[in-house]
Symmetry: C2
Subunit: 250 residues, 2 copies
DNA sequence: CCCGCCTCTCGTACGTTGTACCGAAATGAT
DNA sequence: ATCATTTCGGTACAACGTACGAGAGGCGGG
């Protein structure tokens, strides 16, 4: 809000945030826009769903909208910001637990909703950012998680730490599940080829003497469970949190 | 294993694994090689350290070695495989706990070593793969973790599940720490600019009424701790595991 | 009504990327 | 000396993000 320039020369970072928090309504002046910002974000979401984040190119998004590539830059400063917007839009889909639920139920729902989101839109896990964008709906999710834990009487630092633990767990599981699901289906390998390659690996290079524990666990079927155990492990995690809650209450 | 071709036309995936598990020794025939595979992998590691994974280009690696770009393809099938090799090399740096330590000590060391590795080589966290490559030293690490937990008498499925939980926690913390560390230092923003942008965000767009819990926790200093609490949270996680161990022993 | 300004549209172009292709150069085996 | 084999690397292509600027369309003030 500098007084010298009517439009403060905002930095790139500020521009990026402005788009997320204060999307401009179409101005009445000048030529009419064929698209809305939301159109662009939606097209991006469509493209990314079956091309992956690497396959998300401005040209493809533009083609999907039937416009020239450069047209997108009227609505969005660049690819990075488009992805931010897409993430925000995705997080808006979360059905976050209200304040009425007991904390354990609420946290379970919080975790499941996040996992489902990641499984539905795995590209979110591919965004290379170190943290999620500072976007409204992302903060909504964080707020909901914090609120649940803050209601247990835990100290502020503990609350932050524990919601981080849950987030981290959920992302980890989602990542593993996606890996399992997409194994071989990508890279253009048929399932047979993939199986051949893998069994070839086990017989050719895998040395049971170097990896005895892995071998034993494999033979015992320890790797079979997959990650159907999401809820079970989550419960154990919540047990740990409950312990901290009880300790704080005493 | 078709009989028509003496060298079975291995798939790409098999080639990728072959390079990791059976690096070819330089053949005595033909022109002498100026480089070794290890030279290339090391150069890649150097480049990635200060250019990030996005900045890791074949041309830069080649330039760093003083050779033409295409020369690298004599040693490595492509960029993807080079990254695989770099990851394997990085994991070889881990000082994994031996079988002599009590499980809690061993698991603490396991976790700390991994965290240190990720902080030292953050680009590993940027590799977009859904899971780490099936590489010897990566499996060494996994084996070590599994061995520690298998020694506690837990069932195979539990062992797999819990080591996954630890891995996931470590990666999550490392990611957050890197984010914190690199905040603003990248993107060419000076620290002042970054601070300005951020305080601008809080005053301009952040709405305390929309995010009351976040606001309260912020005011209480709940976010200040950063992630110095790695050990503390890890201890709590190990408490949870100890509970499972005791329950299994009973 | 019309002029001028403002906004959107997008063809062209530049730099960068991974890597396919192929000839040239170098070396051990014969 | 000849040949097979291997490394080396220039050239080239497709795809990428996006800077630039000319054109097209539509509103406000005269």
């Amino acid at each position: 809000m500098t007084s010298s320039t009517p439009t403060p020369d905002t930095t790139d970072a500020a521009r990026r945030l402005a788009l997320l928090w204060d999307p401009p309504q179409p101005s009445t002046r000048g030529r009419k826009a064929r698209l809305t910002l939301d159109d662009v974000v939606e097209a991006g979401t469509v493209v990314v769903q079956d091309a992956g984040l690497d396959g998300l190119s401005m040209r493809k998004v533009a083609a999907h909208l039937g416009v020239g590539a450069m047209t997108l830059y009227t609505y969005v400063p660049g690819r990075t910001e488009l992805i931010d917007l897409m993430v925000d839009r995705a997080f808006a889909e979360l059905d976050l637990p209200g304040a009425d639920l007991p904390w354990r139920t609420a946290l379970t729902r919080y975790a499941r909703e996040h996992r489902d989101l990641y499984l539905r839109r795995p590209w979110i896990l591919q965004t290379n950012m170190w943290r999620l964008p500072l976007a409204p709906h992302v903060l909504d999710a964080e707020e909901a998680g914090l609120r649940v834990l803050a209601g247990t009487g835990l100290g502020p630092a503990r609350v932050v730490e524990l919601i981080g633990l849950v987030d981290t767990y959920v992302r980890g599981i989602a990542r593993a599940t996606v890996a399992e699901r997409a194994e071989g289906s990508s890279s253009g390998l048929s399932n047979d080829d993939y199986f051949d390659t893998m069994s070839g690996f086990w017989t050719t290079w895998f040395d049971p003497e170097r990896y005895p524990t892995m071998t034993r666990i494999w033979e015992a079927g320890g790797f079979d469970a997959g990650h159907a155990s999401f809820d079970a492990t989550l419960d154990r995690l919540l047990d740990g949190i409950e312990l901290a809650v009880d300790r704080a209450a005493a």
